[in-house]
Symmetry: C2
Subunit: 301 residues, 2 copies
Amino acid sequence: MKTLKEYALITEKRLNEIIPVLPENSFEPENMPELLSRSMRYSLLAGGKRLRPAMLLAACEMLGGDIQLALDFACAIEMIHTYSLIHDDLPGMDDDDMRRGRPTNHVVFGVGQAILAGDGLLNMAYEIMLKTAMNAGKDADKCISAASEIARGAGVTGMIAGQCADLYQEGREDGSEAMLRFIHEGKTMAMFVGAMRAGARLAGADQKSLDAITEYARAFGLLFQASDDVLDIIADPALFGHSVGKDVRDGKLTAVSILSLEGAKARVEALLKEALDAIRGFGEEAEFFVRLADTVAHRDH
Amino acid sequence: MKTLKEYALITEKRLNEIIPVLPENSFEPENMPELLSRSMRYSLLAGGKRLRPAMLLAACEMLGGDIQLALDFACAIEMIHTYSLIHDDLPGMDDDDMRRGRPTNHVVFGVGQAILAGDGLLNMAYEIMLKTAMNAGKDADKCISAASEIARGAGVTGMIAGQCADLYQEGREDGSEAMLRFIHEGKTMAMFVGAMRAGARLAGADQKSLDAITEYARAFGLLFQASDDVLDIIADPALFGHSVGKDVRDGKLTAVSILSLEGAKARVEALLKEALDAIRGFGEEAEFFVRLADTVAHRDH
């Protein structure tokens, strides 16, 4: 088992190979247009913690799988995560100009090209997973299962369902706890579940292990989002007087708006306990995941 | 072998099942949001000739394959085609308000939801192909190959490459025949090639058959786009005086703008001959494809 930083480095190295740097403004048959490669790389290689690929690789390794087989799936899930950020930032969605301290994709490349960069990352994620499956010989079944887990997490009953509910809810006054749960489970949790289950599938995990890591991933995903909602309030030094976090400005339904700040903080602690309980059975092998949940629950940025 | 209309009906019936009608404005766990289903169905079930799925099914059947195995791949390619139309119509891309006589997706559902409807169709296409592969037993390899062909046709060296070049070129004065070819091969040809090769893979076709149908699909794709460019001029009753087709207004690089109207018409005939030559070896079995190319070359709308 490696650290988050080590998994992130392996992933980033491979992402760099998958989407090549090409001669400027070239449109060569059989290659992707350089403009497309440049716009995809701009967002994909802009830093980021690489949480989802790391969790996929760590789950695979914890359950005895081969992370060489898993590496392109880790890259695929990061490409899908990145496409979702590019599309989320677009006008008509969240309309954000800045991300990770840099102008967003559509500010640099224009709205049309940003849409295509997102589409390209999503399609290419499947292209590389299918290619890995074709070359996997006796492991082809594991690859198809893993790709299916990722597709479900990213899809119309997973991440896209959550984005749709989030968009529908924005600015409405009738937010319920059920709707909050639907949004968090879709937007945030589903991809963590997809990542860890994909890693487990690639390791050929048994049902008991699969159930345990699924339970962890569910609690972790909700924990991640709840602590994000809390940080939107308390990490902002300018909150004094009235709330000035972006979620509040956008009229978003959040754990804080439904549960209050104290309620949301208590929720984070309860979910942390749930996550840790789920993987207790793996003992020291689960060290990566214990540390990860604890860090995310107690981060301050 | 069936007619285009028969293949279209089979595909449409199955598409109707794949994306269900749900209780209005419902957001139920495990289901897709009704709003998402409604916006996807709006564009997916809005008519259309179902050319790509029909060609996939016909290729599979011509080469001795099972169209039951192929049906969900046919649906997947139509879902991918539809997502590309929804995204193409967005502001920032072609910014079209009408398609097939109805308001475009973003006019009805808003830009954000239209982006998600497109993303949802693309992701779901892979979800159903992977699900079919998981349940295909000994045919799993054929399914992975077929999905890979579709992914390549739709992807960053296929359709998305063409859309990127098209967007880059719009309004520029420096259009070349090489750029025109890059755009047509990407935007139009790649998905026809992907459809037919996927059908052939599902039939377990040998290399010789695969080469022949690839050659046909390449000529057909270029023929389809060249005749589309011609129709943009001559199908418009208001062309008299100066050209008033939409491509011209948008400053698009087309077969007509590069080759002149007469040159483009001659190109259509040359490509028709190329397409028919490519499949001569299949004799009467290729009747569907002979008729199809002839119809597209000589259509007037």
